[in-house]
């Protein structure tokens, strides 16, 4: 398409005309020289970091269940029981040993989005979590963590970092994969600036926090 090519060249040449002294050769060194004086590493001890993470999740109206590795299956069973949840979808890589015995579920790759819409809840792990903002970050699994009304995420204590920059550093190697940052259940503040839980995404967010 010659016209499209022309537009691209025209925009680029308009940009170049405004930056006559810009030198692409020094672009990288200029970028690296940008001062980043903000906090980039943890300042609190581990116990405080985990406490902050839990507090922030509670402020978003997320439920937090603390357990040990051996207790994950029981914790999941109890949570699903309180919701009387009958149908569950699992992330493909979710470990079988974390599941309660005789657990009835489907895996995400075996199901269409229409079927997914009728399932009550989803379970997955996260890649990293941020205490400072109460955020969990999921690699892939975008549809299952969205369509069902309840989402349960298993977070291990060692995955929780204090700050946003630490989490971004962890994610750097997955930067080209689909990533979703989740901070509490779906919400809106569009009506009179009041945060209302649950618009289109899951209305219930359960975090199973696995202590070391």
């Amino acid at each position: 398409m010659p016209e499209a090519t022309n537009t691209r060249e025209a925009i680029l040449s308009r940009i170049r005309a405004t930056n006559p002294t810009a030198d692409a050769a020094v672009c990288t060194s200029e970028y690296q020289a940008i001062e980043r004086a903000y906090q980039q590493s943890a300042s609190m001890d581990r116990a405080s970091i985990i406490r902050t993470f839990i507090e922030r999740l509670h402020e978003y109206d997320a439920n937090v269940t603390e357990t040990s590795v051996d207790g994950i299956a029981t914790a999941i069973a109890e949570i699903l029981n309180t919701h009387s949840q009958k149908s569950t979808v699992l992330a493909d890589n979710f470990k079988q040993q974390f599941l309660p015995a005789d657990f009835h579920c489907v895996r995400e790759s075996q199901i269409t989005k229409e079927q997914l819409n009728t399932i009550e809840g989803a379970i997955s792990e996260c890649e990293v979590a941020i205490a400072h903002t109460g955020t969990i970050i999921i690699r892939g699994s975008r549809q299952i963590t969205l369509l069902p009304d309840r989402y349960l995420c298993v977070v291990s204590e060692s995955q929780v970092v204090e700050t946003v920059p630490e989490a971004i550093a962890v994610l750097e190697k997955f930067a080209a994969e689909p990533l979703t940052f989740i901070s509490g259940p779906s919400a809106t503040a569009d009506i009179e600036m009041t945060r209302i839980r649950g618009v289109h995404g899951p209305r219930i967010l359960d975090i199973v926090l696995v202590r070391d």
Binding site: A4, T18, Q40, A176, S186, D190, I191, M193
Partner: protein
């Protein structure tokens, strides 16, 4: 080129548009309530972020650096996005962008599109272009739905329906969704939206979004949202089309560590908004299998060409300047006649038009500086406002209008002491019919525009200079007499 910013070219002046809005007590109450809530929340979460100023400085430096190497970063983004299976398109103006997008929708055989909130699509008037081509766009952001279903216009860049309260939203929903019953609790209203849109999310095959950040190093796109409607549009359809201003590119994935801290705290007063989505081209088995992105100029390279105001392009559309602005808080967003309201709109809209329209907007400010104070990327809005007022004046001077001629005559008088003192003498004599008790309250003709809203103190009988001269003379006379 035909630059378009919504319908701003046809809008009346700010001063004219503001008057009826100031009489709308319900609207003012809604705007005041919403902006109060949001500024208080923002103050709390910004206050607890001890490195806020360092984050602002780094963000500002990154934006400045990116604009300086914008061609390089756009090309890097294009290469990376294309390598990941995305298609990159370039559009000089609104019409070209609309044409590309409409053609894509037709190519994929779509009659409907589900849309994530994007100010850029409002800027180019995309919904009109869709409708003119028989394509139905569904706005899925709650506030955008309120605007679309109520045939209204956005009044805020983050919370477009901020001027409506819950009762008004209830009425709009009941009518548009054909509901006979609906509560007016925010929960009832969000529930109605959830049911109304769920089927559309599952059935409509084409999603449309804007972008908060384009990552040059990975070719990734980041969308920041709250409700999950964004995630629905970004992951459920088979085709995804995104439009983004060329200034949305940032050098790398790493820079998200700054912007993801600044934006939610500034925009909604949250430590983090519920959802951020990041994708790079297409991902096998996860989300849309066809991805197109349109990079839009529409006047941005003109702003880039003005070294004194290019900082306008640092904007990350958080809306903090609107919420804190004493002018916006009185009028709401509609007075600005543009989809970009408030202080940032007052500098962005006229510049996108190369100052041909919206010339009243740089005056819609008291220059108090509150907007600069809260800006997460340190845009010195008052500085740009003054710069633009200068451009407006210079442009008007080139034409023959009475005010410009008067100003030229004034400059001529002020340039010479002799002329200035002569003018003072004339003024002292000429003012007497208008002075009452030391004040001038009404002046005739054009000068009456000034005195209709302000009183002038009358000129004193003697100026300081002439008093000083007389004082010296009388001292000399006194010395002589004493001698």
């Amino acid at each position: 080129m035909s630059i378009r910013v919504g319908e701003a070219a046809e809008a009346p002046s700010f001063q004219k548009a503001a008057l009826p809005l100031l009489d709308d007590t319900q609207l003012r109450k809604n705007v005041r309530h919403a902006t109060d809530v949001i500024t208080n929340k923002r103050a709390i979460v910004v206050g607890e972020q001890h490195d806020w100023q360092q984050l602002r400085s780094a963000a500002s430096a990154i934006k400045e650096h990116t604009l300086r190497h914008l061609d390089h970063y756009l090309l890097q983004f294009e290469a990376a996005c294309t390598a990941a299976g995305g298609h990159v398109h370039w559009a000089s103006d609104a019409d070209e962008a609309n044409r590309i997008i409409v053609d894509l929708v037709k190519q994929y055989g779509g009659k409907e599109v589900i849309k994530v909130k994007t100010m850029t699509s409002d800027e180019i008037g995309l919904n009109k272009a869709f409708e003119a081509n028989g394509i139905h766009p569904h706005e899925t952001d709650l506030a955008d739905m309120i605007i679309q279903l109520g045939h209204d216009k956005p009044s805020h860049i983050v919370v477009p329906a901020l001027h409506k309260n819950r009762q008004q939203v209830r009425e709009i929903f009941m009518q548009a969704m054909g509901l006979s019953e609906l509560g007016d609790k925010p929960e009832d209203l969000t529930n109605a939206a959830r049911h109304y849109l769920r089927e559309k999310f599952l059935k409509v095959g084409i999603g449309f979004s804007g972008a908060n950040y384009l990552l040059a190093d990975t070719g990734g796109v980041c969308v920041v949202e709250s409700e999950g409607n964004g995630r629905m549009c970004l992951t459920l359809p088979d085709v995804l089309i995104t439009v983004a201003g060329i200034e949305k590119v940032i050098p790398g994935f790493r820079d998200l560590e700054i912007f993801l801290q600044l934006l939610p705290r500034s925009a909604t007063g949250e430590r983090m908004n519920p959802y951020n989505s990041l994708w790079t081209g297409v991902h096998d088995g996860d989300g849309p299998q066809h991805f197109h992105i349109v990079l839009l100029d529409n006047g941005r390279t003109r702003i880039l060409a003005d070294p004194e105001s290019r900082q306008t392009l640092h904007c990350i559309r958080c809306g903090a300047c609107l919420n804190t602005c004493p002018v916006y808080r009185q009028t709401g967003g509609h007075a600005y006649g543009s989809i970009y309201a408030g202080p940032i709109g007052a500098i962005l809209t006229p510049q996108l038009f190369d100052m041909q329209h919206s010339q009243s907007l740089p005056y819609a400010s008291s220059l108090c500086g509150a907007c600069y104070e809260v800006c997460p990327v340190k845009i010195n809005i008052p500085e740009v406002l003054i710069h633009l007022r200068g451009r407006v004046v210079r442009e008007q001077q080139s034409g023959a209008n009475i005010e410009a001629m008067g100003m030229k005559a004034m400059a001529n008088i002020f340039a010479s002491r002799r002329r200035f003192e002569a003018a003072q003498r004339l003024g002292r004599i000429g003012q007497w019919p208008f002075v009452s008790e030391g004040w001038v309250k009404h002046l005739p003709g054009m000068l009456g525009n000034w005195t209709s809203v302000r009183d002038l103190q009358s000129m004193p009988q003697q100026s300081f200079r002439s008093w000083w001269r007389d004082r010296k003379k009388s001292a000399v006379a006194k010395e002589k007499a004493d001698a």
